[in-house]
């Protein structure tokens, strides 16, 4: 048998025959994800089908982008989804429990080898569990609801090999920003990224999710990491027996000798905190190059960096400090589970006492619709994955991206700051 990348392996297993990069295939999907802002258009497309089945058992609907609804239009979209879910008998329905990508992991939907499509570009996050997960639009989702299938071009793969331990106060966000810098924002277009090497092997699942989350920011179709012991240990207590679409829990590795279009080596030991400049990820610099820039808002959260470990890092830095005057620090847990962990561990209290504003779980201000929208001329440092113009509100606002340590240090100083110096 020909040596295979993770992507080739997953598609070959799904189709019961060897497929290789470059082939276009029609495949049964395991999960079909959509959320409160992409589901309404999917419903609209679905309702145009003259006769169609509905694969309710594969459907996951998450209300995370604008929860609770900030205006009547949002509330109306929510009502429309609830009504549809009831009509179609959808049971995998999550309102306000957290960001869809976080829930796929926490609730044990994702399993190694699974084929997942989602009406959200960051669906690639689930690749951290050795699944092939990719974002699509609403009509693709509607078609999958009706047919249980979707078409895919099995992608070529760029392998990213990381070695060396991350220095103190650095995290996977610094690493992935560095990788985006090397690959470029379109360098992985139509391709899968496979992350591996000793550093990744030592990463826990939240760290791996941060890496795969940004695959799309390089134009990538998917970001994948082999499913190993850490993956299975994380999933085992979360996967409820007999849930539809769940392949048995097994490790999954790419074959030695698999063909990669490109192999990129990264040394983590040499890394310093990274900051992406507005209005894209094209330009990422070492923190010292932008240190001192005055901020109006700091946001910690999202499917990139809204997990417990991220807030723990922030709390460690913020403990016995307070947020700078005239600065808003907004913290949005990625899920209810993260929120509870923050409460139980005391992290929530540390953040609140420092002056943080703690919102309900969800996407929070990430997409500029509520809970911390920016005014014209404002500058924000955020732990999210996208700093496109207008993303968080006014197109005349600036968004800088960094990891939670830089965010916490900057919140204390009121200016972009190096966490190693606070």
């Amino acid at each position: 048998m020909r040596a295979q990348t993770l992507s080739e392996k997953i598609f070959s297993r799904k189709l019961g025959q060897q497929v290789r990069a470059g082939q276009t295939v029609l495949a049964e999907v395991d999960w079909i994800l959509s959320h409160d802002t992409t589901t309404p258009l999917a419903i609209q497309s679905y309702e145009k089908l003259k006769q169609a089945d509905f694969h309710a058992e594969k459907v996951i609907l998450v209300f995370d982008h604008i929860v609770p609804a900030p205006h009547p239009q949002g509330a109306a979209l929510h009502r429309r989804i609830f009504k549809f879910a009831q009509e179609q008998g959808i049971s995998h329905l999550h309102y306000g429990e957290g960001i869809c990508h976080q829930l796929l992991a926490e609730l044990g939907y994702v399993t190694p080898g699974a084929l997942i499509i989602g009406a959200d570009s960051h669906t690639c996050t689930a690749g951290a569990f050795g699944a092939f997960a990719t974002g699509m639009g609403s009509t693709d989702i509607a078609v999958a609801w009706a047919t249980g299938q979707s078409w895919f071009r099995v992608p070529e793969t760029i392998r990213v090999e990381v070695r060396g331990a991350l220095p103190a106060y650095l995290g996977p966000k610094d690493l992935i920003l560095q990788i985006v810098k090397q690959v470029g924002t379109t360098g992985a277009a139509y391709r899968a990224l496979e992350f591996g090497g000793p550093t990744i092997d030592a990463f826990d699942m939240p760290q791996r999710m941060t890496l795969c989350n940004l695959a799309i920011e390089m134009g990538g179709k998917a970001g994948l990491i082999a499913a190993d012991r850490a993956t299975l240990d994380y999933l085992r207590p979360r996967v409820s027996a007999g849930m539809y679409g769940q392949t048995p829990l097994q490790s999954l590795y790419p074959d030695p000798g698999a063909h990669y279009e490109q192999v990129l080596g990264v040394d983590a030991t040499a890394l310093v905190p990274q900051v992406a400049l507005p209005h894209g990820l094209e330009e990422t610099v070492d923190v010292d190059q932008v240190a001192g820039l005055k901020l109006d808002q700091v946001f910690i959260g999202t499917c990139t960096n809204g997990r417990f470990e991220d807030f723990q890092m922030a709390a460690q830095i913020l403990a016995s400090h307070t947020v700078a005057p005239n600065l808003r620090l907004i913290c949005t847990p990625a899920s209810r589970e993260v929120y509870l962990q923050m409460i139980k561990s005391g992290v929530a209290e540390t953040l609140l006492r420092a002056g943080a504003l703690l919102t309900n779980p969800g996407c929070g201000p990430c997409l500029g619709r509520h809970q911390g929208v920016l005014a014209e001329g404002e500058r924000c440092l955020s732990t999210m994955n996208r700093n496109f113009r207008g993303r968080m509100g006014s197109p005349q606002a600036e968004i800088y991206l960094a990891g939670p340590a830089v965010a916490a240090a900057s919140a204390i100083k009121g200016v972009i700051s190096d966490p190693r110096e606070v």
Partner: protein, 164 residues
């Protein structure tokens, strides 16, 4: 025949349909804020039959389908670019918005263009130059001919096109 509306490389979907306006499922309404921030005159002046001409990786970023829907509702005949971001590419095919893959250097904003479908060419009438268009896969063309994937399924007994 229509005019070229020129955009740069890596145009993202937050630029095409900014997130905070994106609260409708009505394409006509989406068309009203299409490119409203980078080119406020676009939604007001665009005419049916016009073309969007862009650089590499058009439509990057989020999966929002409002991006091709808004462009389509503006009456755009086709988006011409050397490459497209993959989610946008799928979405455009699915909703029946035509994409033409071809290098776009040299095309100026405001040039008069024509799409010669029979010969597979974009003709720049202003400059008197022709560009060959890269052929898309057969199943993609089958979806386009049907007018989008929903129309395709309705015409073919709810079966997806065969992939060879």
């Amino acid at each position: 025949m229509g005019r070229a509306w020129l955009f740069g490389s890596n145009v993202n979907t937050d630029v095409i349909t900014p997130g905070r306006y994106n609260l409708t499922t009505d394409p006509a309404e989406m068309a009203r804020f299409c490119f409203c921030e980078v080119r406020p005159e676009f939604p007001k002046q665009v005419k049916p039959g016009d073309f969007i001409v862009a650089g590499e990786h058009f439509g990057s970023g989020s999966s929002r389908e409002s991006a091709p829907l808004a462009i389509q509702a503006c009456g755009i005949c086709a988006v011409i670019a050397p490459s497209f971001a993959r989610i946008f590419y799928r979405n455009a095919i699915n909703v029946g918005l035509a994409l033409c893959l071809t290098p776009t250097q040299g095309i100026q904003d405001g040039d008069e263009l024509e799409w010669n479908k029979e010969r597979g060419l974009i003709v720049n009438l202003t400059q008197g130059i022709e560009f060959p268009i890269e052929k898309l896969p057969d199943f993609v063309l089958a979806i386009r001919r049907a007018g989008g994937i929903i129309a395709y399924l309705n015409q073919h007994g709810s079966r997806l096109p065969e992939i060879k």
